[in-house]
Structure formats: C-alpha cells, structure tokens
Symmetry: C2
Subunit: 240 residues, 2 copies
DNA sequence: AGAGTAAAGTTGGAATCACAACTGATGGCC
DNA sequence: GGCCATCAGTTGTGATTCCAACTTTACTCT
C-alpha cells in the first residue's frame, strides 16, 4: 500500500489506525520494541522511533519495565480534560503533586462579574490554587464563582460535585487559550525564569446558559507545552 | 549544574535557553550535529535527539543540506497566529497550499447571531474556505460576519485589513478549542477516514467589545495536532 | 566572465549493539 | 500460606556506523 515513506511511519500509521478505530482499546498492550521489529520486519531504531511518536501524540503511554499501553484518555482532549490528568500524570513520572488552596471570599470584581454574567458589584469567591510538583510550583489557577454557590469547603477542584448540591448541573466548559508574557505576580508565585512565556487558559464552567464558575489557569511554557505541529519530518521545516 | 539527567536534555535546555532569552535570534543558525557533539562533548545520538526535540517544540527548523535555524515565529503561539503560518508552512514542506473561497451572503443564523451579538434575524455573510495541500483538503474554515461589513471582495483572510475600511480596529481574538467527532458534512468536505477526530476552533475577532467576525475552523487530528505534553520522557507515562 | 561541475557539509532515516533501571512473574524458602 | 530473591522482559538512553538526498561553496573549463 505505502511506497517510499519512512519505515517507522508505516508502523506509526498502522498502530494509530488500530487505536483510533478502536481495535486496540484503552489499556490494551502495544507490541514491544522487539515484537515490532519481528512483526513489521523493521529495525530497532524504527520501532523505537514509532513508539516515541505515538507516545508524543498522547495515544500510548510507556512504563519502563512494563511496556506501552493505549492511553486511557482519548486521542485528543480539550485542555480542561487534559488538565484533569495533572495529578495522575505527575504521579506517573514519579513526582509528588501537591497543591495549596487559598480562598478569600467576598470581593467585588467587575471584570470577573462580566464573565460570570452577574451584577458588577456582586461579591465573588476567589480561590487560588498553586499546583506543585515535588514542591516546585508548576501551575497557578485562580478561580472565581458567585458567592452564593460557596458552601465553605475548600475543595474547589470538585466544582461539578459541589454545584450538584445547589441544583445546578454542569453542562459545558468553554475556554479561551492564549500565550502571553507573565505578569509580575505570576512570575513571583510560579518562580519563573526571565523570558519564559505562560499559557493563559480562561475557562468557564456552564450550567445551561449560566456561567457558574470561571477561572484563569496559568501554565509556564517551559513546564507544559501546547504545541501546534505539522505532520512533517521533525514536525517542522523551513521556508526557503 | 545538572546531574544525572539524560545527556540530550542538557543540550536541549542550553539551546532552548539561548533561544528564549534572545541570545539566538530568529534566523540564527543552530550548531550542526557534528558541532554539537564536539561543543557539548556528547554522542551523535544525543545531538540528533536534542535537535529533534527542539524542532518538535517549534523552536528551530531544519532543512536537509542546509542546517537548523531559529524559527521565525516565536516560541509559543496562540492557535490563530500559528494558523497564519499555514501557507508558509505548507510551502516549507514542499507542498502547494491552495484554497477555495466561497461566499454566500444574506442568511439568518440565530446561533451565529448570538456569537456576533446581533439580532437573531440579522443576515450574516457566510464564507467557507477549504484549505488544500497539493489538492488534498486539510482544513475547513467557516467564517461569519454581520453583512454590513462585507465589501464584496472574497478575501476573508484579511479580516483586519478590510475592517479597517469600516473604521473598526481588531483588538483581540478569542478562541474556544475542543476536539470532537466530525459531522458528516465535515467528513465529506475534508475526505476524512473513519475514526479520525477533528479539532474544532471557535474563533471570534473583536473590535473593542464588539465581535466583528466569528469562525469555526475544523482541523483533522491526523493532519494537525494540538498536543498537550508533559516534560517527561516520551512526553507521557502511565499511572500505576 | 559565466556556466557547469565537483566536493564538502548537513539532515533524515536506518541498523546494530549495549547498558541501567525498572516491572512482573516465577519459584524457593521459612 | 506468606515472604523474599531471582530472572526474563521492557523501556529509556546512548554510541557507532552507514546511506540517500539535498544545499552550499568552490573550482574548473569554455
């Protein structure tokens, strides 16, 4: 079928097809390097490279000593779902994820009120979460919600669950994502080296057409990367 | 400074630092494989791998026979800016980018009216752009704007320029990005194989607090990938 | 001088071998 | 039975070597 494509791409495409078509279900084991060399008649380099590419696409996950498996999460994720993997992913790479949660209530924030579609002077609950990996801060999330929803607990990470008690059902999450230069307070909290940009995710949780919570997530670009890649060799090439 | 990190990471981090700090300006040549082996005292594998990683991050670009250079575009881009590189990027990998533009005006679209914050029955101009690479459709953009702005030209890609003539200045672009299963019409236009998901970018151009144009960009996940990666070996690992 | 050619250098792809760290399972020992 | 050590298998990393395709430069020949 294929022709003069690189050998490793043949392997990538075949495995990717099997995964996206559901032949290989999440959790299913992927052939090991040696098995690939035999099954596809390719060298070890090609097998290794194929596995690397699939892993980098998020389709499979590898563990030393255990092998590769189809990733539990689907092939592509909205950012907010990918972020839900923060804790497990950090664990996975052998780092201890922790977070500070600090809530300071009752403040009027006109800019946030717009996003929550409430009166400009209504007080909102602000919760700041600093995610850490082995103590090192890697992510900052500042979340706001109308004060009426807050039930006094600190567990802002369980928005959906808590809102259930208020008779609201989360139906959607929308996001604005962009990269920018960090603000001083962000550089401070995240201990950013000079020159590092941040990814800013403006996220709103909706219950029907009502925004019930909105948050700003700040991710340093040297920690987590949102990469827009071309399907070209090495992901990218030069123009002239 | 570093300790037991993989050798290639030392090279990656040093070059990345030089790029993000501006020591290596866009267009500046990156040491070749052989130069890296000598300069950093590493093997060829490590040098090659380091270049591969940097290229995959979009920081540098390689050309066979010519070498690597610091990429013209900055290290991280909002999607809409990355997309502006579509044409040059396609050229770069030796493919001929073309696009069909089709505008059919005067239709009432209540759903779009909401996004444009205009009356539900106001007619909007719909423009459909099919981007092609060597004839193969790779991207679909459906763009809407209030009919008053349209000046009859087909060049919807130059939103900012055209709107200037109406006394409006684009100040912001916001996006909602998510992945989903393609709709039949999309599978049809883009000639999608079964099982391929699409990235859906809902984009709105703003002039101040007025939305002046909104568009849906559909990108097949097997053509372009938005990848959320961890700074871990192979980008990802398993939990448990 | 100008044009065509040859050579050197570079990247992308690939094969082969090696090794440390880790996992899972097996089997033996208490 | 329960616990521990061993061992084969796997991944991540790395070195080395080779080759095709390409670019750039320098050189030679007309």
């Amino acid at each position: 079928m294929a022709n003069s494509d690189p050998v490793y791409l043949r392997v990538v495409e075949d495995l990717r097809r099997q995964i996206t078509e559901g032949l290989l279900q999440p959790g299913a084991p992927i052939p090991s390097r040696h098995q690939i060399t035999r099954k596809y008649g390719v060298g070890e380099t090609a097998a290794r490279h194929a596995l690397r590419v699939l892993a980098q696409e998020g389709l499979i996950i590898g563990r030393v000593g255990s092998g590769h498996r189809v990733r539990q999460r689907p092939d592509l994720l909205p950012l907010h779902r990918a972020q839900a993997h923060f804790s497990t992913d950090m664990h996975a790479v052998g780092r201890r994820p922790t977070c500070d949660v600090k809530t300071d209530s009752a403040e009027a924030r006109p800019d946030i009120a717009v996003r929550l579609r409430i009166a400009a002077q209504s007080p909102v609950t602000r919760t700041r979460i600093v995610y850490r990996s082995d103590g090192k801060p890697v992510q900052l999330a500042v979340s706001y919600e109308p004060i009426v929803y807050n039930d006094g607990t600190d567990d802002v990470t369980q928005v959906a669950h808590r809102l259930g008690g208020n008779g609201l059902k989360l139906t959607e999450v929308t996001e604005h994502v962009y990269a920018r230069v960090p603000q001083p307070v962000e550089s401070d909290v995240l201990d950013l080296p000079a020159g590092v940009h941040v990814l800013h995710v403006e996220r709103t949780h909706w219950a029907g057409d009502k925004p019930v919570e909105t948050s700003d997530v700040i991710i340093p670009c040297d920690q987590f990367r949102l990469v827009y890649t071309l399907p070209a060799p090495y992901g990218d090439q030069i123009n002239r």
